[in-house]
């Protein structure tokens, strides 16, 4: 069961965690903890949507990890310099652009990176994101606007 769930959803869950945490090592831990909790559950059959459950559990795991990082005043881990993004078409990789974009993304708050991920990479609408995160669509839209503004400012500085 665990293997099947991993094969079905680990990819999207890991990418989601990676965008919130901007740290591959922390994202791996969060995904691992989420699946371990799932394995320890006795009433999995009562979960209506395993995918939704895993996404919500992972999100909590990510924000818990961020709170812990802030509390421990942990420095940036070595894994946070590993790449966050990969080009869709590997034929024409623009390494400078990728690095600039990653650097700009890392400066954003996790909540804004999360919205970018859901909007751009999961192609969800503002309303769908609002429903998933239990916030208003206006909040989602403003976070997205701030995120775009932040990226624009940061990318201009880099240029």
């Amino acid at each position: 069961m665990l293997e099947a769930a991993y094969d079905a959803w680990a990819g999207e869950l890991y990418r989601y965690a990676l965008m919130i945490l901007a740290d591959p090592g922390a994202a791996e831990d969060a995904v691992q903890q989420t699946f371990v909790k799932l394995a320890g559950m006795e009433n999995i059959v009562h979960i209506n949507s395993l995918r939704d459950y895993l996404r919500t559990a992972l999100r909590h795991q990510c924000y818990d990890a961020l709170r812990k990082q802030r509390r421990d005043k942990r420095q940036v881990s070595l894994s946070s310099v590993e790449p966050l993004l990969e080009p869709i078409s590997p034929e024409e990789p623009d390494e400078d652009e990728r690095q600039s974009l990653e650097a700009a993304l890392r400066t954003l708050p996790p909540e804004q990176r999360e919205i970018i991920h859901l909007k751009i990479y999961e192609q969800m609408t503002f309303q769908q994101i609002a429903d998933a995160l239990s916030v208003s669509a206006n909040t989602v839209a403003s976070r997205y606007r701030y995120a775009m503004e932040g990226l624009r400012r940061r990318l201009r500085t880099i240029e």
Partner: protein, 126 residues
């Protein structure tokens, strides 16, 4: 502003977040399996708790028996006479006076029980 957002979105969609490392699957599936040492630990903890409970009950029973036998060996209970009541009233007529008289009666009964035994020699230090 809209153009800027469009440009940023165009840059973003040329990339995607990297996927999980290949070894994560093994780590997750291994960590998710029940570990035999965990169940052994649970059995050992259960046995230790049961042994501790049995010991507690046993000690409680033994203590109660010892108390009963000690009380029996000391003879009948203190008889509260009219004289004892008057003496208690002379002291304060309250709980403390009654307690003191009860203590004296018990001590007197004990001294009767030890009457045949040699008395300890008391030496006063200078």
């Amino acid at each position: 502003m809209e153009d800027d957002t469009g440009q940023i979105e165009q840059i973003l969609i040329r990339y995607r977040p990297v996927g999980p490392p290949a070894d994560l699957r093994d780590r997750v599936t291994t960590a998710g399996q029940p570990r035999p040492w965990r169940s052994r630990l649970a059995i050992i903890s259960g046995l230790a708790a049961a042994a501790l409970l049995a010991l507690t009950v046993g000690l409680n029973v033994a203590t109660n028996r010892l108390l009963r036998e000690t009380a029996k060996s000391l003879g009948p209970e203190i008889v509260w006479t009219e004289e004892a009541e008057e003496m208690a009233k002379l002291l304060d007529g309250q709980g403390q006076g009654r307690q003191y008289i009860a203590f004296c009666l018990a001590a007197s009964r004990q001294s009767d029980a030890f009457a045949g035994l040699p008395q300890p020699r008391i030496v006063w230090e200078q």
